[in-house]
């Protein structure tokens, strides 16, 4: 059974907000949608995102941003109401080199929403989530700030 988002409006608003944040917009992140509570984001290969010009491989830092952002969206799929969250820690395992010229997708899930902390895991891949490029685990602080992240996104 796939549970649906805890509050579809929170997910819709926050996913739109997160991919529109300046750094995510700079990297060209796209929100492709959420299956159950597992959102998928995409970043196209681009020359200015490369980390190793000899191979044309995307910089690991881009993958870090993609995992961070997709994981944050997965937390919002579990939140009952709007709140500000902040990454507490993040670990990325680079399982194999990304292929030059190919878009990278990231799928994340929040597998435990505790009262103060949210725990997430994510995979990055080209074609098949079962054949991942990178695996990421993160934790997020809930209610990290009284300043709402929504000041711009609220309709």
């Amino acid at each position: 059974m796939t549970p649906s988002p805890a509050n579809p409006q929170v997910l819709e608003t926050m996913s739109a907000l997160f991919v529109s944040l300046p750094h995510c917009a700079t990297l060209g992140f796209q929100y492709l949608g959420t299956e159950g509570r597992r959102p998928v984001l995409k970043v196209e290969w681009r020359e200015d995102l490369v980390g190793n010009p000899a191979s044309g491989t995307i910089h690991g830092g881009v993958i870090t941003s993609l995992v961070d952002t997709t994981s944050a969206v997965s937390v919002t799929a579990c939140l009952p109401d709007f709140e500000t969250i902040a990454t507490l820690d993040l670990r990325i395992d680079y399982l194999k080199a990304a292929m030059p010229g190919k878009a990278i997708y990231c799928r994340a899930e929040c597998y435990r929403l505790a009262s103060q902390i949210a725990f997430t895991r994510a995979v990055c891949y080209h074609d098949d989530p079962a054949d991942p490029i990178a695996h990421g685990v993160a934790t997020f602080m809930r209610e990290s700030s009284r300043a709402s992240m929504l000041q711009e996104a609220k309709p």
């Binding site: 944040l21 750094h23 910089h59 830092g61 881009v62 902040a86 990325i92 711009e152």
Partner: protein, 146 residues
Amino acid sequence: MSDFMEKLAQLRDAKDFTALIDSIPYARLMGVEMLEDESGELLFQLPFAERNVGNTALPALHGGLIGGFLENAALLHLIWHRESLEAPKIVDFSLDYLRSGRPQTLFARCEITKQGKRVAHVLIEAWQEDRRKPVAVARAHFLLTQ
């Protein structure tokens, strides 16, 4: 050894920090700067730029960007201090966020904790105004053999 690593080694020997950063597209996009301080230690800095923001309400630097900056610093630090011209490959990267990154210059320093035959371990620390108040600390493992 690739032509790219050979070029990096030449830039390293010439201490041409700007050209070194410019040769890595994403480091250039972030706006990374690299220099040697009075004691000859490598220092990385990231002047504030709007495109690096991840929270417009606070505002704060994007956490992923901070990660990318630190990961890039660790890689360059390692290349800088190695004899070999094989490109180190990152195996894993672990990052703890301690404070939000304010709209100011972010600094980073690295330390090679261990450099073995196959694997290197690098510690990275990032701060802004006060080095005693780190914004993030991270560690990375790199594979040194192909």
